[in-house]
């Protein structure tokens, strides 16, 4: 059951961390596709667009992994509600409809 609890925490933290990472642009690294160049942290576009997507994923993964490991002692004692594992990601997915509304309503 501890594995399930860990996976619930992982899914919830991943989703929240990903939204925060995208909205505050906390990319762990930036990819410049025209130059095929990887740069640590957030880097401004140069000679073309900068891609933060991979960096956002890395930030979310690090946050989720870190939180899941850090919360292990707590997870052994406390029953984490299962619904957190799907409700938080679902809410985060729906929140992107709001964050991306400028694409659809002009």
């Amino acid at each position: 059951m501890n594995a399930i609890r860990s996976a619930v925490v992982f899914a919830a933290v991943w989703a929240v961390a990903y939204v925060v990472s995208v909205e505050l642009n906390l990319a762990a690294f930036t990819y410049h596709p025209r130059e095929n160049l990887w740069v640590w942290g957030v880097s401004a576009p140069r000679n073309g667009p900068a891609m933060y997507y991979y960096g956002w994923l890395a930030t979310a993964a690090l946050a989720a992994l870190g939180a899941t490991v850090a919360l292990q002692p707590l997870l052994r004692r406390i029953a984490v509600p299962l619904w957190l594992g799907w409700a938080v990601p679902l809410f985060c997915i729906l929140s992107f409809l709001w964050f991306l509304r400028a694409f659809f309503w002009r």
């Binding site: 667009p49 979310a60 990601p89 679902l90």
Partner: protein
């Protein structure tokens, strides 16, 4: 090469869509075997699809991430110049949906690994439904973006 990878990405997504749809219907709306096409479609043993779904999700995601830079450099620029912001938004939403879905995979896999545990059935149904709807959205959005010039080029 890029066209090949794009088609492969689409085919993997299609396989994932089929597997997840079978599984989602089996868990949300179970059917009886041998009672017609729709019933049989829903009467699969959902658990046997879990490993395939995780593998297909990861492979489709990885391939999508691999072919993303050419989209960002060439296709999105064209879409923005054509002022097709809704189409660009479809893709933006797609990438965010799949990024969050990636974090759901460990839970999804564990829930199906314990497929007999009835206390997990609600969570199993929700997680599977979220992933299934995500893939349906992704395939439709991807199809529109893939055909953007044919559909909106004029």
């Amino acid at each position: 090469m890029l066209t090949f990878l794009l088609i492969l990405h689409g085919l993997l997504a299609l396989a994932l869509l089929g597997a997840l749809t079978h599984q989602a219907l089996a868990v949300l709306w179970p059917g009886r075997k041998g009672a017609g096409f729709v019933q049989s479609f829903r009467a699969v043993s959902g658990g046997v699809y879990a490993n395939a779904c995780v593998s297909l999700y990861l492979a489709t995601f990885a391939l999508g991430a691999w072919i993303y830079p050419p989209y960002r450099v060439a296709v999105r620029v064209w879409i923005e110049r054509a002022r097709l912001f809704e189409v660009s938004g479809l893709f933006e939403f797609k990438e965010q949906v799949f990024a969050i879905g990636l974090g759901l995979l460990p839970l999804y896999w564990l829930l199906w690994r314990r497929g007999q545990d009835q206390s997990l059935s609600r969570a199993r149904a929700w997680v599977t439904a979220i992933l299934c709807l995500s893939v349906w959205y992704g395939l439709i959005a991807g199809h529109i973006i893939n055909n953007v010039r044919g559909m909106f080029g004029a």
